[in-house]
């Protein structure tokens, strides 16, 4: 990929919390109009990555290495004012639980209006017109009622649409959706994913879709990156990752996922034995080694490097000793 057309680029990002490594050498890049999926179990560092991009790491978390650039401009260590313009401005953020992420005592219209005001200076009638446009764009008809409603008066799907409208209010070029459908039922979830898909195409947004669910990611993204214990373990085009998973963890994740589009489960779903390591405990060697069926003694002592794979012109990569010399 040429760096020229990268909109958002993360390179070698490392984050510590109280001395424990939670992100180690995370690199990703998204181009305009592209959807990148980030998959992994709960606690693997997906959300930490998105928070680090926006400079919203929790107290006690420190960036130890790497860079985050938006259109070539460094975001790590940027001033609070500059970051406030980026958050909700160039980068829109959609969170997991729309019900909890909307202020329960503020009307929807005012919450979205706040973003319009601080990022685009829209007030009064201009703001009202833009609010109606945004609601129509995210499929909320009956703007009159929605604008005056408090969050608890809307259904989960409508709340998430309102959140999306809020994320769009600053006219972002990048949209980060962190588990946008986890709190919704399956039918509403697919509607929300369709909406994100449509917005990406219509607005040319770069979409970073974060989920623990391969089925959510698979059908909607151009490329998929798999994370495990704070490290990226595999990156591949979405259409190839299910048929040709290279990393044992990706393969195990696919076998443990019900209903991935186009992939009928060969047999009963298979669980991955063991658990995600506690943060900071096993950063020597491959973090997946204790759960890996292919593990050899070398796996628990040598940290695997990122190996670029040749795959008919596709950008692929994997972090596994199998693909290194001396295996």
């Amino acid at each position: 990929m040429s760096t020229r057309d990268e909109l958002l680029a993360v390179k070698g990002l490392g984050v510590n919390i109280a001395g424990a490594t939670v992100l180690d050498g995370v690199s990703l890049a998204i181009r305009p109009g592209e959807a990148l999926g980030l998959v992994g179990e709960s606690g693997c560092g997906k959300s930490m990555t998105s928070l680090a991009i926006l400079g919203l790491l929790p107290r006690g978390a420190k960036v130890t290495s790497g860079s985050v650039t938006l259109r070539g401009e460094e975001l790590l260590g940027a001033g609070e004012d500059a970051l406030c313009r980026v958050r909700g401005g160039a980068i829109g953020m959609i969170f997991q639980e729309p019900g909890a992420c909307l202020d329960p005592v503020m009307r929807i219209g005012r919450q979205i209006g706040e973003s319009l005001e601080i990022h685009r200076g829209l007030k009064g009638a201009a703001q009202d017109a833009e609010l109606r446009k945004l609601l129509a764009e995210v499929g909320l008809t009956d703007a009159e009622r929605v604008l005056r409603a408090y969050p608890h008066e809307l259904s989960g799907g409508m709340q998430q649409r309102a959140m999306i409208a809020m994320a769009l209010a600053g006219e972002p070029v990048v949209l980060i959706a962190d588990e946008p459908t986890t709190a919704l039922d399956a039918r509403i979830a697919s509607q929300i994913l369709d909406l994100l898909d449509r917005l990406r195409r219509e607005r040319g947004l770069a979409l970073l879709l974060i989920s623990h669910d391969l089925a959510v990611i698979g059908g909607r993204c151009d490329r998929v990156m798999v994370m495990y214990a704070g490290r990226l373990v595999e990156a591949a085009p979405a259409e190839r990752i299910f048929s040709e998973a290279r990393h044992p963890y990706t393969a195990a994740l696919i076998e443990a996922s019900p209903g991935i589009a186009g992939v009928a489960p060969k047999s009963a779903l298979r669980d991955i034995p063991g658990q995600l390591p506690a943060p900071g405990s096993v950063m020597e060697g491959c973090a997946f080694a204790p759960r890996c069926s292919l593990a050899r003694p070398a796996c628990s002592t040598r940290v695997p490097r990122w190996s670029a794979l040749a795959d008919r012109g596709n950008e692929r990569g994997v972090r596994c000793l199998q693909y290194e010399e001396g295996w």
Binding site: L54, L56, R59, E80, D81, L83, C84, R85, V86, R87, G88, G89, M93, F95, Q96, E97, A100, C101, L102, D103, P104, V105, M106, E114, S115, I118, H119, R145, R148, A149, Y150, H152, E153, M163, M166, A167, A169, G170
Partner: protein, 283 residues
């Protein structure tokens, strides 16, 4: 629409609460008769009539007269102005200072929180009498020094409560989402933290007015309020001390007025606590 129903149900719950309803009537009545004292009082509060010293309640002096022959009813009506004004003003000052400071400490945390919390801890043990003596020395006689003394006592409580509330609100996901939308800390505090302090603050404010009315009466009783002949429920009680066996109405009337006012605001606070259903967590 569920919209209208949800809102209607809160206002109906407030109205259906007997404590709130009756205390509101009582407070309204107290405000009307004291603010309108100039219209309804049969005498002025300082009209002295030596011949009517300790006159019993009757047609000329409805609730009797005191040692100097001043009309007890008129003095109680005018005195209520001071008591209610001090009660409301001291609470208002305490809310305006205490709540933002407390919410700031709770939301920002860290060193600022530590410093503010220690200052609040320092203010808590000061008795209102001591503060009243100090403000009287510094600011002289007047409404202002009484209001400031009482609000100094109240402010730490509002600061503590709103700090606790802000501390818990700051952990909620919508604060994270607001940061993600690019809102600055000041805006988040003003728009998304402070509004959540509203209910506990309202409850505590009602109870604080009751406390402030009682405090003003105590200070006036001790001579730390407005100087005579300014009418005040507390100083009227004090001047009644010498002759209350002879003329019990001089004690009963201002005493009843204090009781009614304190009761009204206490009931209002109690009723609001029932309706808002936030328990004793922050109070």
């Amino acid at each position: 629409m569920s919209n209208a129903r949800a809102r209607a149900s809160l206002s109906r719950r407030i109205w259906n609460n007997a404590k709130i309803r009756y205390s509101c009537f009582l407070i309204l009545a107290l405000l009307l008769v004291t603010v309108g004292a100039g219209l309804i009082a049969p005498h002025t509060y300082d009209a002295i009539d030596a011949a009517a010293s300790y006159a019993a309640p009757g047609s000329n002096y409805l609730l009797g007269a005191d040692a100097l022959g001043r009309d007890v009813l008129s003095r109680v009506l005018y005195g209520g102005r001071l008591s209610l004004a001090v009660g409301l003003l001291a609470t208002l000052v305490a809310v305006l200072i205490g709540v933002p400071i407390g919410a700031f400490a709770g939301y920002v945390g860290g060193v600022a929180d530590w410093v503010i919390s220690r200052v609040v801890d320092l203010l808590l043990p000061f008795p209102v009498i001591l503060l009243a003596i100090v403000t009287k020395m510094v600011l002289g006689d007047g409404l202002l020094s009484v209001v400031i003394a009482i609000s100094l006592v109240l402010t730490p409580f509002f600061a503590r409560m709103s700090r606790a509330k802000a501390l818990s609100v700051a952990q909620l996901p919508f604060i994270e989402a607001a940061k993600g939308s690019g809102l600055g800390s000041g805006r988040i505090m003003a728009m998304h933290v402070l509004p959540h302090c509203f209910q506990p603050v309202l409850i505590m404010a009602a109870l604080s007015v009751a406390f402030a009315i009682l405090a003003e009466a105590s200070l006036s009783f001790l001579g730390l309020g407005l100087p005579p002949p300014a009418p005040s429920w507390g100083s009227d009680l004090q001047s009644a001390m010498s002759g209350f066996q002879l003329a019990p109405w001089t004690v009963l009337v201002p005493g009843t007025a204090i009781t009614l006012a304190v009761l009204a605001f206490n009931f209002l606070g109690d009723g609001l606590r029932d309706v808002f259903d936030i328990g004793e967590r922050f109070l």
